[in-house]
Symmetry: C2
DNA sequence: ATCGCAAATGCAAATCAATCGCATTTGCGA
DNA sequence: TCGCAAATGCGATTGATTTGCATTTGCGAT
């Protein structure tokens, strides 16, 4: 029973259930965004617990976490499935290899000034942005094609 | 029978069927990205033709157009459905109102230099990027909330 | 520590976008 | 005009996500 997670839930008024605990514990360990299905499988295969967490429950838990901004939901490229990642509260973007689909996080944002200008020009109140950059990763370049 | 479209198809070795003609004709008219379903409905309601185009056919036609780069496929935010737009061959981004979901196209790209740097740092071969900016449009700001 | 009960979960069925199999139709080169 | 590969219509299917409902569980109040 990870005490940091208990605190996190308390701070967000989230009831501390076994299932929620396991989901967020797993997401915190993940270095890159994962699908609901892959969370389900990972928890299923985790020998530390005997029970598996129902897939609908995984979805319901993720919805809750996203609503509370504990977790971020993405969907890259034109995939019609979502991926989820623990919200580490750092503004970042993603670099995606079009060959192997590997997702790399990149910190640092080149858009501060641009957003300012854009707000002035369009009279939108700019809130946030999403930037995905596509390319071929070093390994895939080596392998050719 | 729009002759420009006939030429466009010929140039891309696409057989000129009634259904394809109607789909691209409609997309060319659209100012913003639309879903497959909304194309289907628009064609269905178009009094200029008696027949409707089957939804599967709309999807197949869109896949073909996307493969040929005549049409671009997007999916905004965390929507798990795609939108399509005629490829006007201009690099652009989208500004999306988080209240009314209106999508506005914005031309001009602030990322040229950044992509260069990023390629050098990560050794990825950078190919393209997708930038979506979220905010509140002027009308929604007026209406308050 | 126990109780009560609203909230959370499990399971199966439903939904929604997108895709597919197959019988029928159609565009287009010969 | 003909022949036929390619395209379409239509119904069934898939894959991701959501929902209804009966059962279980966490946790505040006793
Ligand atoms: Mn940024
Ligand atoms: Mn750009
Ligand atoms: Zn790669
Ligand atoms: Zn708006």
């Amino acid at each position: 029973m990870n005490q940091n997670i208990v605190e996190l839930f308390k701070a967000n008024q989230i009831k501390n259930t076994t299932q929620r605990h396991r989901v967020i514990e797993y997401l915190i360990k993940c270095k890159e965004p994962v699908t609901a299905e892959s969370i389900y499988i990972a928890l299923f295969e985790d020998d530390a617990y005997e029970d598996k967490v129902n897939l609908s429950t995984v979805y319901r838990i993720l919805d809750l976490f996203v609503k509370q901004s504990i977790v971020l939901r993405n969907s890259f490229g034109n995939e019609h499935k979502s991926t989820y990642e623990f919200n580490r509260r750092e503004h970042k973007h993603h670099l995606i290899c079009v060959k192997c689909n590997k997702v790399t996080s990149i910190k640092g944002c080149p858009l501060k000034a641009y957003e300012q200008d854009l707000g002035n020009q369009t009279h939108f109140k700019i809130l946030e942005h999403r930037l995905e950059i596509f390319g071929v990763c070093p390994s895939c370049q080596e392998r050719g094609n």
